[in-house]
């Protein structure tokens, strides 16, 4: 009995600890595209800058493609009580500054993590892949409890 329970635990924890860390392939070949990438992520960088200036926000990460802007941020512990209002404020600011983009902004930790992941691998993926991943995160953020 006890053994089977232990086994179950081992399975649960072992099955989940493999962080996606593969795909660091051929970074050099893509270096030529770096310049392009920078221009490409200009909106995201600007958005990050803007949101970072909000007093309650401690950390921001953003990515964009041609139409979508995805932004995750963290809120100071004691301002978490007002998470909803802050989220609203962030969204309002972004839609004012970037009216051409479809904006998703969330303080949810998961969104922050996933956005960071996309951002860190910008160079490794085609813009199509990126859009696909972004859409996935956006869908996740719209999930209700």
């Amino acid at each position: 009995m006890l053994n089977s329970v232990l086994l179950l635990f081992v399975l649960i924890f072992a099955g989940c600890s493999n962080e996606p860390g593969s795909g660091i392939n051929s970074q050099k070949t893509l270096q030529a595209d770096d310049q392009k990438l920078l221009v490409d992520q200009e909106t995201a960088a600007k958005a990050e800058e803007e949101i970072k200036n909000i007093e309650e926000v401690t950390d921001v990460v953003a990515v964009n493609d041609k139409k979508l802007l995805l932004l995750g941020f963290k809120v100071k512990q004691f301002d978490k009580f007002r998470t909803k209002q802050i989220e609203k404020k962030v969204k309002e600011r972004l839609s004012k500054s970037f009216p051409d983009y479809e904006i998703t902004a969330s303080s949810d930790l998961k969104i922050f993590i996933e956005t960071t992941k996309i951002k860190n691998k910008l160079a490794d993926q085609s813009s199509k892949e990126r859009t696909k991943k972004m859409e996935k995160v956006i869908k996740l953020s719209n999930e209700q409890t």
């Binding site: 978490k80 998470t83 303080s107």
Partner: protein, 118 residues
């Protein structure tokens, strides 16, 4: 990260202290105490106060039974937004089902596996 854990501990612990006071000072039975806490959670959510607490304390607010009342209200309100008044009735368990279904399933499994130790 540390802060997240710290406040989960503190807020969760404080909600338990409220329960303990209801046990010891007001001499309520566990049944009465837990029922009252659930009702309190529902009412707090009605005023929009419980969600901020969850944002603040994470599991410190979702693990205590008070969150059960909160998520029942949430489920009802979500459905009400979509389907109007009737959604209040139908959406109730939309969100909370995990606690109840887990309790039912593990309860049954427990009955299969264990005998009361006395």
């Amino acid at each position: 990260m540390f802060q997240t854990f710290f406040w989960a501990f503190v807020v969760g612990g404080l909600i338990c202290v409220v329960g303990q006071i209801m046990f010891d000072v007001f001499k309520l039975t566990p049944g009465h105490t837990l029922s009252s806490l659930v009702v309190a959670g529902a009412i707090l959510d009605g005023f929009g106060l419980y969600e901020p607490l969850i944002d603040f304390a994470g599991a410190g607010a979702t693990i205590p039974i008070t969150s059960f009342g909160n998520s029942l209200v949430h489920g009802a309100l979500q459905e009400a937004e979509k389907h109007g008044i009737i959604g209040v009735l139908t959406g109730m368990f939309e969100v909370t089902s995990s606690g109840i279904s887990a309790a039912i399933i593990f309860g049954f499994i427990g009955a299969l596996l264990f005998k009361p130790k006395g």
